[in-house]
């Protein structure tokens, strides 16, 4: 294997070496690969800039954690007795990039929200009587598809996570099954402004929201789900995690008469800051 990489590197396909930059930032390369990246970095400012970005991504994994208190005196003591080195021979030194743009928050005003359909879009979606078996089946199929997507076989310990996820989905699916047989349950449906369809199954204090064919939100933005109360107030039900345009969320123990979705900064907002792309209300 290393022979083949050796040859690849030797052939000097720069694109290939460039593809190793994420691995370089992750410290995930073998010596040979690392050397070929370092050669690229010496001559290529774009590669250095890309590396700086990847390093910032990798650094974002680290969670600041207070080290043991006794470490402080020990390090400061060593520092007093350790001479500093000069700036020279820094590996892949200065590049002309400016760091200031690195941490700039995405400017929300510049991000295109889905076409505004007006606040009334989707209000009063169809109310479907659950005695219609067709609907019941559709929900069942949707849940099975979600469970199947989570159950893709993954080797090693990642499987633990998948199992946990599957258990969670199974539990969720049991709750939704119970909701489905509740004679008072109803399903509200509506189109999403900007594309896609949404529906919510309401039974007692539980709501199961589903949507599909959703367009990818603009970078730095996310769909956020809201529970609408009888007096018109809304409370957050979290940012929706969308995969292949599909999303589902079970919200339990809420007294709401409907749900709404807005496009918000990806970390979510405390209150909606944009007009809803869909409102599903009784």
């Amino acid at each position: 294997m290393s022979d083949r990489d050796d040859r690849e590197a030797a052939q000097g396909a720069q694109g290939d070496v460039r593809d190793l930059l994420p691995g370089y930032a992750l410290h995930a390369l073998d010596d040979l690969e690392r050397r070929s990246v370092e050669r690229l970095l010496e001559s290529d400012a774009d590669a250095r800039r890309a590396l700086d970005e990847y390093r910032e991504v990798v650094a974002a994994f680290a969670v600041d954690t207070e080290p043991p208190a006794e470490l402080r005196a020990s390090v400061l003591d060593r520092v007093r007795n350790t001479p500093q080195l000069s700036a020279t021979s820094a590996p892949s030194a200065s590049s002309g990039t400016t760091a200031s743009s690195g941490m700039t928050a995405p400017s929300s005003s510049a991000v295109a929200a889905p076409p505004a359909g007006g606040p009334t879009t989707g209000v009063g979606g169809d109310v479907v009587d659950l005695t219609a078996r067709r609907r019941t089946r559709r929900w069942g199929v949707a849940l099975t598809a979600v469970a199947a997507a989570a159950a893709i076989a993954v080797p090693t310990t990642i499987a633990v996570q998948v199992t946990a996820e599957r258990d969670r989905l199974q539990e969720q699916s049991e709750i939704v099954s119970e909701m489905l047989v509740d004679p008072d349950a109803s399903i509200l449906r509506g189109a999403v402004a900007g594309g896609g369809q949404a529906s919510v199954l309401v039974a007692d204090d539980d709501m199961f929201f589903r949507a599909d064919d959703l367009p990818e939100p603009a970078p730095g933005r996310a769909y956020q789900l809201w529970v609408v109360a009888e007096d018109g107030s809304v409370s957050s039900a979290g940012v929706l995690s969308v995969r292949d345009g599909e999303t589902a969320s079970l919200v339990q123990g809420v007294e709401g008469i409907g749900m709404a979705v807005t496009v918000e900064p990806e970390a979510g907002s405390e209150q909606p800051t944009t007009d809803p792309v869909v409102v599903l209300g009784a």
Binding site: M1, S2, D19, P22, G23, A25, L26, H27, A28, L29, D30, R49, D52, E53, Y54, R55, E56, V57, V58, A59, A60, F61, A62, V63, D64, T65, E66, P67, P68, L71, S74, V75, L76, V79, T82, Q84, L85, S86, A87, A90, A93, S94, T97, A99, S101, G102, A105, P106, I152, V154, P155, T156, T157, I158, Q161, P219, G220, P265, E266, A267
Partner: protein
């Protein structure tokens, strides 16, 4: 705004502290230690998962930060990123040398260590991610990208080892990690527009 760590607001001042301690009095390093030791320790323990090892690596890294402060270039990234990079590199090197030692010893010992100590313990990973700036963004990766990135990051593995652990082809793993980091980059908003 929300995605970079809360520390971001003080980024410039931390960068300035680090820059100032280059060629300075050792006393000028004290505020640098206080500002940056937590990221060194956090990055170390993410990979090592052992507080004693992480403390040792943090000590080495913070002394290195002092020694090489003149090489810090704020134009290429924040002090936090620089220290996180140094810490993770040392932590991964330690994981690898520990693993090499264990592999040597293994022949003489029982099979208790049969499961690789470098297998990523997912519960730990999930816990480790809480509070990190990537927590939200990692959801935006495909399952295969996420798995490859997480295994590479927390396992301290090389591409080749990631490929072995996941039973995937090496080029596949390379592109998954690349695409995964690109998505994270875009989500975190770290792309530098030139």
């Amino acid at each position: 705004m929300a995605s970079p760590p809360a520390r971001t607001s003080s980024r410039d001042s931390v960068d300035a502290l680090l820059t100032a301690c280059a060629g300075g009095d050792p006393a000028s390093f004290t505020p640098v230690y206080d500002a940056l030791a937590p990221v060194a320790y956090g990055a170390s323990i993410g990979v090592l998962r052992d507080p004693d090892h992480a403390a040792e690596v943090t000590q080495e890294v913070m002394v290195e930060v002092w020694q090489t402060a003149a090489r810090f270039d704020a134009a290429r990234g924040s002090a936090r990123t620089w220290v996180a990079t140094l810490a993770r590199r040392r932590a991964v090197d330690r994981v690898r040398s520990e693993q090499a030692r264990r592999d040597r010893d293994q022949r003489d010992t029982d099979l208790r260590n049969g499961e690789s100590a470098r297998d990523v313990v997912v519960e730990d990973v999930e816990r480790s991610l809480d509070g990190s700036a990537v927590r939200r963004c990692i959801e935006g990766l495909t399952p295969t990208q996420r798995e490859a990135v997480v295994v590479a990051y927390y396992g301290g593995l090389t591409y080749r080892e990631v490929a072995e652990q996941l039973g995937a082809a090496l080029p596949t793993v390379k592109s998954r990690i690349r695409d995964g980091l690109i998505r994270l980059r875009d989500c975190l908003g770290v792309a530098r527009n030139v």
